[in-house]
C-alpha cells in the first residue's frame, strides 16, 4: 500500500489515447477505455484505486489533460499537486512535493 493517497482526473475529450501515461504509471493504475471519445480515441482512465498522486502520468502526457490530486496529510483533503492543461490561454500549473514524486 502506498503511503500517500492520490487521485487524477482526465479531460477525456482531449485525450488522444497515446497510452504514454499508462506505461508511466508505477502503480499500474491506468488503462485505455474500451469506449472512444468524440475525437475517436480510446481515452485513458484510472482503473485501480491505488493512485499515489506521483504525477508521472501528467508529466508525460503530451496533451496536458491530466490533473493530479494528492491528499493533504493534515486535513485529509485532496489538493491538486499538478494541474497541467492545454497551454493555450492562461496556464495554471501547481506542482508540489516533487521529491516524493520521482518514480
Amino acid at each position: 500500500m502506498a503511503k500517500v493517497r492520490g487521485d487524477i482526473s482526465i479531460d477525456i475529450e482531449n485525450c488522444k489515447g497515446c497510452e504514454l501515461c499508462v506505461v508511466a504509471c508505477p502503480q499500474n493504475a491506468m488503462a485505455l477505455a474500451k469506449d472512444i471519445n468524440k475525437q475517436g480515441y480510446h481515452y485513458a482512465v484510472l482503473v485501480e484505486d491505488v493512485c499515489t498522486g506521483c504525477t508521472n502520468c501528467s508529466l508525460v502526457c503530451p496533451d496536458a489533460v491530466i490533473t493530479v490530486y494528492r491528499e493533504d496529510k493534515k486535513t485529509g483533503e485532496k489538493v491538486p499537486v499538478a494541474e497541467v492543461r492545454n497551454v493555450t490561454g492562461d496556464i495554471r500549473i501547481t506542482v508540489g512535493a516533487e521529491e516524493e514524486a520521482e518514480g
Partner: protein, 266 residues
C-alpha cells in the same frame, strides 16, 4: 475494471478541486499526433515561463515544421519565422529589445539543415536567447523525409532502404558542434520520454530562460523527441525505439554548463 463516462463525471463531482481551469483558457486542442513529444515540450516550456513569471517579457519564435502553429498554443507573444530562420528573427528581436526573454522553438530540419547557417552564427555571436531544439530524426511536417539527424539505416520516405553514410552522410550532431563555440553559454541534451526526463528537461528550459539575464551567451536545449506517425510506430513503441536507437547516438546530458563564477559574478 474500467469506469464508465458517467462514473468518471460523478467521481469529478466529489473531488475537492482547489485549482480549476481558468475561464480565460482557450479550448485549442493541439494538432499534434497522439504521443508526439512536441506536446510535452510545449507544455514544459510554458510551465517554465509561468514559473519564472516572465510571460509579459517573453517573445517566442515558431519555426516551420510540425510546430509551426506553436503560437496557437503558447500564450506568449510570438513570431512565425521562415523555414530555418528562427534564430535570425530572434536575433532581430533580442538586439532591439535586450530586456526581453527570447526563445526559438525549432525542429531538426529547421535548425540543422536549412537553418544551419543562421544557427551557427547566432550561437557564435552569443545571442542571449534560448534555442529549444526538437530532434525527432525526421521531417515530421512534410511526411517523414530524411532529416540531417536521421540515424544510419533509419528508413524514411526519402531513404526507403535506410540512410547510408556513404551516400547521405552521417547523422549530424549539431548540438555537440554548437557546444564548441565560445558564444554558447549553456548547452544540454534532454528527452521527454519518461517522467524523470521530463523533469530534467523542464529544469534545463528553466535554466535556459533564466540565464538570459546574465547576458553571457546562447542557451541551447536539445530535446530528443519522437515522431510516432512518421516512424510508423505506436507512441509507446516509438519511445522504446527512441531509447534503443536515438539515445545511444544522441546521449543525454549537459555539454556545456556555466561555471559557478559565471553565475555569481553576473
Amino acid at each position: 475494471m474500467e469506469k464508465s463516462m458517467q462514473e468518471i463525471e460523478h467521481h469529478h463531482d466529489e473531488m475537492n478541486i482547489v485549482c480549476e481551469r481558468p475561464s480565460t483558457l482557450l479550448d485549442a486542442r493541439m494538432h499534434y499526433c497522439p504521443g508526439c513529444g512536441h506536446g510535452v515540450a510545449h507544455r514544459i516550456l510554458m510551465e517554465a515561463v509561468e514559473e519564472l513569471g516572465i510571460q509579459e517579457q517573453t517573445i517566442g519564435v515558431a519555426p516551420v515544421g510540425c510546430s509551426v502553429f506553436a503560437y496557437l498554443y503558447m500564450n506568449v507573444d510570438m513570431q512565425e519565422a521562415a523555414h530555418g530562420r528562427a534564430t535570425a528573427v530572434a536575433t532581430g528581436i533580442k538586439r532591439c529589445f535586450p530586456d526581453k526573454y527570447v526563445y526559438t522553438y525549432q525542429g531538426d530540419g529547421d535548425l540543422a539543415a536549412i537553418g544551419t547557417g543562421e544557427t551557427v552564427h547566432t550561437v557564435n555571436r552569443g545571442e542571449n536567447i534560448l534555442i529549444v531544439f526538437i530532434n525527432n530524426a525526421i521531417y515530421g511536417m512534410t511526411g517523414g523525409q530524411m532529416a540531417p539527424t536521421t540515424l544510419i539505416h533509419q528508413k524514411t520516405s526519402t531513404t526507403p532502404y535506410g540512410r547510408e553514410a556513404s551516400f547521405m552522410g552521417n547523422p549530424l550532431k549539431i548540438t555537440e558542434l554548437l557546444a564548441q563555440l565560445p558564444g554558447a553559454f549553456y548547452v544540454t541534451r534532454q528527452a521527454v520520454n519518461t517522467p524523470v526526463n521530463v523533469r530534467r528537461a523542464k529544469k534545463a528550459l528553466l535554466n535556459g530562460l533564466k540565464y538570459q539575464k546574465l547576458n553571457k551567451g546562447t542557451c541551447l536545449v536539445e530535446i530528443v523527441s519522437n515522431c510516432p506517425t512518421n516512424w510508423g510506430m505506436k507512441p509507446v513503441q516509438a519511445n522504446e525505439w527512441l531509447v534503443e536507437n536515438m539515445l545511444p547516438y544522441y546521449p543525454l546530458g549537459d555539454m556545456k554548463v556555466p561555471s559557478k563564477e559565471d553565475i555569481e559574478n553576473a
